[in-house]
């Protein structure tokens, strides 16, 4: 089931009537989610990603714009008629019911022709439980489960009624680091097995990048960029997206374009053919540095961190916006740790230039 969001806007009225300042949580959001894909809605807190998810679910009504599931306009349809499964951030498992009762609950609500027999319900519940591998926990209460298990129960409860679209609100935020890695693989597997169009919300770019077919980066209610994770990473449209994706984060330096060259502190580090002279922000991915004794960019060496496979060189440069410049170099290079300075050449495809005013990408 493809999901289409058309000029979706959500404005929350201001709480304080005097100041009368309304909050635009989602602003003119247009986007098509292809059928059967796993989509990550990504952005810092307050960017409107959860609001977007809740509008898809129907729990919140958009101020304007339309939502389509396939060809059906569901904008005015109430939540229960949309055929969605929603997994809440803190799971919202009914604490007084066992796992089995929790999973059965949505089925027991069905009426009329949709109503299943008791046996069918139990079978569906067991299938859903088996899919998320909790079939041995059916008689426990939620408070007897670990966070990861509760998460699985919540997913099983969302899947048991065979939704057209599965929505997950920050599905991993309540789990510890190890469980998070494991669970995100699990979500990927479940999504692949069921083939249900799935949208999940996260503020963790690594999480979104690692499992999504596509990521949607948002900022202050405005869509920034949509694409395959690698594409967005390799080709950010603005400084915000460039900074938001990647660990360690991108290095940002102040510089200028002069005579078709990108210069940092006077040193030309890359070609920029056809770009007018102007002050710019320059973003360089940590893996975009190459050690070269005659390199164009000279930085003060402050630390070398060994990570086994790679080496992370921490250096400083007066044009850097961040306190330090962090580069990741193959561990095979011999690095003189006692040296005062370190010189780099920059890989052209790892360097992005942004307009200093608008912070939009300058392509060349």
């Amino acid at each position: 089931m493809k999901v289409v969001l058309q000029n979706l806007t959500k404005i929350f009225p201001s709480r304080d009537k005097k100041s009368g300042k309304e909050v635009v949580a989602v602003n003119d959001f247009t986007f098509e989610i292809p059928d059967g894909k796993l989509i990550g809605l990504l952005g810092p807190s307050g960017c409107g990603k959860s609001t977007t998810l809740y509008m898809i679910s129907g729990l919140q009504k958009p101020t304007s714009g339309k939502i389509f599931f396939g060809e059906d306009d569901v904008t005015e349809l109430s939540t229960e008629n949309r055929g969605i499964g929603l997994v809440f951030q803190n799971y919202a498992l009914y604490p007084h019911m066992t796992v089995k009762q929790n999973i059965l609950f949505p089925l027991e609500n069905l009426k009329g022709a949709d109503r299943l027999t008791k046996e069918e319900m139990l079978k569906r519940a067991h299938d859903a439980a088996a899919l998320v591998q909790i079939d041995d926990l059916m008689d426990r209460k939620p408070n007897e489960l670990s966070g990861g298990q509760q998460q699985r129960v919540a997913i099983a409860r969302a899947l048991v009624k065979m939704p057209r679209v599965l929505l997950l609100d920050e599905p991993l935020s309540n789990l510890d680091a190890r469980l998070r890695l494991q669970t995100r693989e699990e979500i990927r597997r479940i999504q692949k097995e069921t083939g249900i169009t799935t949208v999940f919300v996260t503020h963790d770019q690594e999480e979104a990048m690692s499992i999504s077919d596509m990521i949607v980066v948002m900022k202050l209610g405005v869509l920034q960029q949509i694409g395959k994770p690698q594409d967005v990473y390799d080709d950010p449209v603005n400084l915000f997206v460039a900074k938001f994706l990647g660990t360690p984060p991108i290095n940002v330096l102040e510089g200028e374009v002069k005579g078709g060259k990108v210069c940092i502190g006077g040193a030309a580090v890359a070609e920029a053919p056809g770009v007018a002279d102007q002050p710019v922000y320059i973003g360089i991915r940590p893996e975009g540095f190459e050690l070269d004794a005659n390199g164009a960019l000279e930085c003060k060496l402050s630390n070398v961190e060994v990570m086994g496979r790679d080496v992370s060189i921490v250096s400083t440069h007066e044009s850097s916006v961040n306190p330090v410049i962090r580069s990741i170099i193959d561990a095979d290079y011999a690095i003189d740790r006692e040296a005062e300075t370190v010189r780099y050449n920059i890989k052209p495809h790892k360097l992005f230039v942004f307009n200093k005013e608008t912070e939009e990408r300058i392509y060349f």
């Binding site: 679910s57 129907g58 729990l59 939540t79 229960e80 008629n81 969605i84 499964g85 929603l86 809440f88 803190n90 919202a92 009914y94 604490p95 007084h96 609950f105 949505p106 609500n109 069905l110 009426k111 409860r157 009624k161």
Partner: protein
């Protein structure tokens, strides 16, 4: 833990409370026990130097009094009738109050007003509402019909003698049940509303996503999640019900019943009070202990039931 050296300080700070508790709670309890088990004990005679033999004569006497068993029956009836009704009503009102947005605060305040109103005053108002007799402007007695009978007659019913001379036992009980339920509502509503407001809204969102009908949301989600509060309200309701006394005085006055049958609606606490007035301190103590045991037993049963039914 308090440092040993400074423990005397802790005791010092606790002393006022401990002294008051010892004098006004612990000693009276012990004294009640002592009095209850001295046959025919009376403080006045004891002061005059009389001694009493130990035994269970007081209990035997109390239980053989018809007046006592009547009081016990009245108390039981009032408990059994008022606690479920008031709890159910309070639950409905709390849910309704919780689901409305406009005027919620105002309505909350209105529903809470009875709690801060003097129960004797409320009793007098109820007496007026259920009354059938009044004074004419010329001073003669006349049927004036309280508002309840007026409403009944408006709908074509026969007026009922709720509580005046010649009224029956069950109409009297109805008056008391209505009064006690009304009086008990505010506290219960307050507790249940507090409980409702602390239920995570996400459970309702989850239920909505799953298309849960409203009645099922109420019975399968609201009530179970509210069960600790409901248990609390029921238990305290029973305890309060067994101590019912001032409400009867409020509505019927010190006669504790309609004028032609004084004492008809007397309760356990009323019996204890009357026994004290006749200087039968042993009997009063025995009755107090019986009341205590009944409350204890009922509370234990309540706790047992809620262990099975309360979900946290």
């Amino acid at each position: 833990m308090v440092d040993n050296k400074h423990q005397w300080k802790a005791w010092l700070y606790l002393a006022p409370a401990i002294v008051l508790l010892l004098v006004f709670t612990v000693w009276p309890i012990i004294n009640t026990l002592l009095m209850a088990f001295q046959n025919g004990y009376s403080a006045n005679l004891a002061l005059a130097g009389k001694t009493f033999s130990f035994g269970i004569e007081n209990f035997r006497k109390v239980l053989s009094y018809k007046r006592f068993t009547d009081c016990l029956f009245n108390t039981m009836i009032l408990c059994v009738a008022t606690v479920p009704i008031s709890t159910m009503l309070a639950l409905l009102i709390a849910v309704a109050l919780n689901s409305i947005k406009p005027l919620q605060r105002t309505l909350q305040t209105i529903f809470f007003l009875p709690y801060v109103t003097n129960s004797i005053a409320i009793g007098m108002v109820f007496a007026a509402m259920f009354n059938i007799i009044g004074l004419r402007p010329d001073g003669a007695m006349a049927d004036t019909w309280g508002i309840i009978n007026n409403v009944i007659m408006f709908f074509g019913g026969e007026p009922v003698n709720w509580m005046n001379a010649g009224s029956g036992y069950w109409p009297n009980i109805v008056v008391m049940v209505v009064y006690i339920v009304w009086n008990a509502l505010p506290f219960k509503i307050l507790v249940l509303l507090g409980g409702l407001q602390s239920i995570n809204k996400q459970y309702y969102d989850a239920a909505k996503v799953d298309g849960t009908p409203r009645r099922r949301v109420f019975s399968k989600i609201t009530v179970p999640l509210l069960s600790p509060m409901i248990a609390y309200v029921v238990i305290t309701g029973f305890i309060g019900g067994f101590k019912e006394y001032s409400s009867i005085v409020g509505v019927f006055g010190e006669t504790m019943g309609p004028v032609h049958d004084a004492g008809r609606l007397n309760t356990m606490v009323g019996f204890i009070y009357d026994s004290l007035n006749t200087r039968a301190h042993g009997t009063a103590s025995a009755a107090a202990l019986i009341l205590f045991l009944i409350i204890l037993a009922v509370t234990m049963v309540n706790l047992q039931v809620s262990k099975k039914r309360v979900h946290f």
